[in-house]
Subunit: 492 residues, 2 copies
């Protein structure tokens, strides 16, 4: 027994050393390395033996499940129905819409053999499902009475990416893709914008990320779409990340896939289409917008564990009493809060604090023998906003208030960083070099000519989106009149 | 206006003719055709342009979501965590476990090209994820403290099947696959059995299907497993369907993938593994066990629509009042029941009854002008158990009681059919010909020799499972002692 205790102590000491040695890279100087460290050390994801694919570990997947629940409810409440379409798409389907195949051809994974034989026609592993869903729409839509048709799919897609990073860009990723068909152009525009606003609501009010809604330029829009709405956010290293997109596809795909319906007047028309998607990339954004030197910082509304309760044992005698009080406390909280009790007896409190900070748990409750005697608990949080000793019967309201505060504080901090890195500039010749060096958003004017857009790329940047305002008279490159403002940035 | 009314009447008449012409095949004489008719006509699924793959339409997917919610809760409540692993698996991984590759090789879909180039090593589209998950287990499991490791994945898998049928056997299907690792053989057995019993609970108490738990024979078990537990159900045509399986994988895969952990005693051991899965095939079973000549019959607990409310307009004047009463009624019900109001004004009540019967909705509420005057509604059901006129304030309790009754009645009817088709037989030479002709389960004895098992196949049957009882002295084929009873049947 004595011997065993030594072994345990030795093991504990060893673990502390291990934990310490896994120090994260410097967030200020080595952002990409810091990002990967956080993703792997906090166990959001792991590298897989398959090129460009990651494993989403339980902690990361639980975040995705939370996002999915919120988004799925929005999708259903707005009248869409979930369905499931094959992961394989005949290669010829992609070729039916010229721009679509041009956009996706370089990224395709191709199945050439099945059941031990070479296939007559190779199958593409879906990079997105417009083609197969529109093929089915053509079977299902006959009359105006069948419209609008509003379908959503939760699933996996594959795009063969050259350079991959966990969550941000992986060969396979998870998402939802919505596909709808409508009688009028106006309805399809309303639909694309409605989902766009639901996405914005999730990003701002659940992920606590201040983000900028806009439209994509012709060269950056979805392959085959008329209009692509995008939501752009700024990461802590000054690079932009496209959070999600919503497309007005108009009738290009209806024509390509022969979707026609009998109108109210008895004529035959092609319906107007939309599609929109939200992916596991959003988890990468959460890491890069809120994380710090200690690791993850999770917005309360999507955190798998919102509160970790850590009983602090001073002696073996304390344990039973402490654990029973902790159970009572947990019982009180767990109807309204996602909690975890860390009663691991092989780790010291300090190690546990370190561990749950790395994992970004918003609120920590500490409870020791003295607290039991006083009928109190200590409530601390991941942002270090306050460490209060509060009476037992105030726990629920304190925790809820703190979670709320953390959400708002996270949003505020991110918004302040965004403001600091949001610049304006008249001509790219002037602001380009600083943009290339330091990142950030640059608001400027653009004439809408592709030849001018090309000059942004010289500074390793892209036009992230067209804004809905006109504050610049001239294009950032030529002397022509600006059609509207744009945001320029380097991007993931 | 007058003209328009004629057009509408004509349209309605046309629709009735169309509906009538889509009569289902005869369930008694043409069961496979009837099955496909029901699946497609009720819009559970549709044929896809991809060989062997189906489209799961919203109505079918909603059933899967209901099953998923129930099962996901059970999986989480018993301490498993969801995660996500790549859909692609290096071909060499499958080859690491000899029996596994032998079992799955003929069914693989192979990706040979990605991003426009031929791959150095072809990738397999996962037929099941043991190999890649065990590869990750080898990275994650170091010490006995990491055990048990209990992971579950919801996703799609691909098996290149020769003959496909919607839900029952498709090239791609949806499922959950659980994968766990344990310190002892006993623990892994407990785990496999625990999930097996959860599956049985879902099948009996949610899908209302009486099913038989047993073990697979050596030749029928999962490729690479020590023991495969199976749940077998009997369809209305007398054929068996394997509902799901749970495997004790033991240490074959731990060895193949180099999963080792430091034991409590400081040694190095391979953990004991399990895996278990439940698929969209279960929806096919629901159709084939409960369906009838009118179409689908859905067990209330998984029905996407539990109650359809049909207002019966006698004149245009009735409409406003009726619809407002229907809304009040819907409001009362929708907190505890999944409802649908069918206020389509282009279909007559008779057509609507027909439509919702085809879709298997358990309870129908009819409400007309006379009901409004009397403060009553009419409650009917899919099984024709009762058609009662009940006062408004009794609606909720009546509906709940009826849903409950329908569940039990469905189970009872299926159980009676099962009993009628459950025979015993001493020697296959005697019962084989009837089995081949008429189907059903045959309980008999077996010595466990593969050479005897071969003789079952001559009658187009297989050993569905080994039972936990010994009521036959001799093997069904040879004269050796029977090791235990078995169930023999033709199967899907």
């Amino acid at each position: 027994m004595q011997y065993f205790k030594h072994v345990v102590n030795f093991y504990t000491a060893l673990k502390i050393i291990c934990v310490m040695s896994k120090k994260l890279s410097d967030i200020q100087k080595q952002f990409p390395e810091w990002y990967q460290d956080v993703v792997y050390e906090s166990q959001l994801a792991d590298q897989s033996p398959v090129r460009g694919c990651m494993v989403i570990r339980p902690y990361g997947y639980a975040i995705w499940e939370n996002i999915k629940d919120i988004l799925d409810k929005k999708i259903k409440d707005s009248g869409h129905e979930n369905a499931y379409f094959p992961i394989f798409i005949p290669k010829s389907f992609l070729e039916k819409e010229a721009k679509h195949v041009e956009g996706f051809a370089p990224e395709l994974a191709i199945v050439t053999h099945g059941g031990g034989k070479e296939l007559e026609e190779p199958l593409v592993v879906r990079p997105t499902s417009e083609t197969i869903i529109h093929h089915m729409f053509a079977q299902w839509i006959k009359s105006w009475r069948d419209l609008p048709m509003k379908i959503n799919q939760w699933g996996n897609v594959v795009r063969w990416e050259m350079r991959t990073r966990p969550f941000l860009r992986t060969t396979e990723f998870l998402w939802q893709e919505g596909h709808t068909a409508h009688e009028t152009a106006q309805e399809s525009e309303d639909e694309a914008l409605m989902m766009f606003h639901e996405y914005l609501d999730i990003i701002k009010n659940y992920l606590a990320i201040p983000a900028i809604p806009g439209k994509k330029s012709e060269s950056e829009k979805f392959a085959g779409a008329d209009t692509t709405y995008t939501i752009e956010a700024l990461m802590q290293d000054g690079k932009a990340l496209q959070m999600c997109t919503s497309h007005i596809i108009s009738r290009s795909f209806s024509r390509a896939f022969g979707i026609t319906y009998q109108t109210r007047e008895g004529g035959l028309e092609h319906p107007y289409l939309t599609s929109w998607g939200f992916t596991t990339r959003s988890i990468g954004a959460v890491v890069m917008v809120h994380g710090d030197q200690k690791g993850l910082v999770l917005p309360p509304k999507i955190a798998p564990i919102q509160v970790v309760i850590i009983p602090i044992f001073k002696s073996d005698e304390d344990k039973a009493t402490l654990l029973s009080v902790v159970q009572t406390l947990a019982q009180k909280l767990k109807n309204s809060v996602r909690i975890k009790i860390d009663d691991n007896q092989h780790m010291r409190p300090g190690e546990k604090f370190f561990h749950w900070e790395l994992k970004g748990v918003p609120v920590r409750i500490e409870i020791g023998p003295r607290d039991i005697a006083n009928g109190t608990v200590v409530v601390a949080d991941r942002l270090g906003l306050a460490k209060e000793t509060i009476p037992f019967d105030k726990v629920i309201e304190t925790v809820h208030a703190r979670l709320d505060l953390i959400h708002h504080e996270l949003y505020k901090r991110a918004e302040e960083r965004l403001k600091k890195k949001w610049h304006t500039g008249e001509k790219i010749a002037q602001f380009g070099p600083t943009l290339e060096k330091e990142g950030g958003f640059y608001q400027t004017g653009w004439c809408r000519k592709a030849s001018c857009e090309e000059h942004v790329k010289k500074f390793k940047a892209t036009i992230r989106c067209l804004l809905d305002e006109v504050t610049f008279a001239e294009c950032f490159f030529c002397n022509e009149t600006s059609a509207s403002d744009i945001l320029v940035a380097k991007a993931y």
